[in-house]
Symmetry: C2
């Protein structure tokens, strides 16, 4: 078992209840020896495994999530309700709970995608990024633990000037992403990738912590092996609410996932 598949595993306890053990392997240390806060995409992946296990279809086509509370490493539970079974799609409600309190509430639509059918792109792909080997890892020394150790992010240097006080001035962020543990992309890895970027508003004068309130993402095609390209953009900030759109493209050149999230941001522009 890889680190990711072990960290996202769920075991059925009957009647739509699943047990999980949330792992610090996909968390961030908020400060030296402080509590570890788990990545939202990781929490989605755990919830989605239970929803798909409960469904008659193979893939999580659409997942809408409210983020109610941050998740911490330790035992957790997913409660899944089947709401409608269909030939093309099934709908479920799912909640990830910890200590009896909901962390994530979700609506999940499942379906079954054929890996061999070719998507019909109706628009242009994003402008290409430099190759992963030309995008240095974010820090000089690779961190030994948690999300930064287990998720290999290679941000386009063109959007990383904000580290030296030179943001691009536009709401944008982009990176190559793959799991350091060797897992090839699948719908659960996509859930992680789609919430992996530094907030796009960092480049638009709203730096700092930007907790996700709501995130909806759609699985558009089954991803090919290799690096994922993750592109983020945004439209507006109002009264501390910011939007962020993310597209994930796979190594075969297909749009495999789309998300929009609404997050909190700084209330005033720098």
């Amino acid at each position: 078992m890889t680190i990711f598949s072990e960290a996202t595993a769920v075991s059925a306890e009957g009647e739509g209840r699943y047990r999980a053990e949330l792992s610090d392997a996909f968390g961030f240390e908020t400060k030296q020896d402080g509590p570890v806060v788990l990545n939202g995409g990781y929490l989605m992946a755990v919830l989605m495994r239970a929803a798909v296990a409960e469904s008659s279809h193979a893939h999580p086509i659409s997942t809408a999530v409210s983020f109610l509370r941050p998740g911490l490493p330790g035992p957790a539970e997913v409660v899944v309700e089947r709401r409608r079974e269909g030939r093309t799609a099934s709908m479920l409600r799912a909640s990830l709970l910890q200590n009896g309190e909901p962390l994530l509430d979700a609506l999940v639509t499942t379906g079954t995608l054929d890996p061999d059918e070719k998507p019909v792109h109706l628009g242009e792909p994003p402008a290409p990024m430099p190759a992963p080997e030309d995008c240095p890892p974010r820090g000089r020394e690779r961190p030994k633990r948690g999300f930064p150790a287990n998720v290999d992010m290679r941000f386009d240097p063109a959007v990383m000037g904000w580290l030296d006080g030179n943001p691009t001035g536009r709401p944008e962020m982009r990176s190559h992403v793959r799991l350091a543990g060797g897992d090839e992309p699948d719908p659960y890895v996509l859930a992680l990738a789609i919430d992996s970027l530094i907030p796009v508003v960092t480049n638009a004068g709203f730096p700092g912590w930007s907790p996700t309130v709501e995130l909806t993402w759609h699985l558009r095609a089954l991803p090919a092996p290799g690096w994922l390209c993750v592109y983020g953009s945004g439209r507006m900030v109002n009264q501390g609410w910011s939007d962020e759109d993310v597209e994930v493209w796979d190594a075969a050149g297909n749009l495999v996932a789309q998300s929009r999230q609404l997050a909190r941001a700084a209330r005033t522009r720098k």
Copy 2:
């Protein structure tokens, strides 16, 4: 009371339960004397009224909806659960039921927006459309009943060539929208407007019925009085799944609502 406020009214029955009477005023006749199918945005507006009534905040900031079954005119019920109360935002789950079966399952985040605070736009507005008076109503004779009678849509003629067999070839659709009954835009009118367009894939070789499976929208600012401009676009069709993004801009030039929906579409391109 206006037609819209009457058609979307809910009355509290206690313990998070609300009664509604779904109206054919926002429905479509699928064929001569056939059943009336209600607009999805109208159903969202009914559900949102109950969710906001149950919340300590004034506005539905984010609403994610699974569409399980079509709604028909007649009695319905909204069941709302408070999931988290916060100072900035509260989260609820809500379902619209008819004859005991769920039509819509939703996650709603409420908050309170200040109408006087100015949004910070981080991108460009869409290209302007011709004025409403230069966008003829869709049919030659105004229909007397239902959604087409009560929602004044003025589609940009540039995206309506598909009626004469000349689609633009791109996934696009846009229209001015206002309620014929005189209601000025508010968050509930926005819910209707954001799901009012003819499917964008109509212009991209996938004509026909396109039922919404999931739609998430965010209220970004309180809308000014006057016409709304509704802009739709899309990215991809794969195995009968299509995405549609909609932005609603108000008469004051602000982005007031953003949505993405995942819908079913024809499986092959014409």
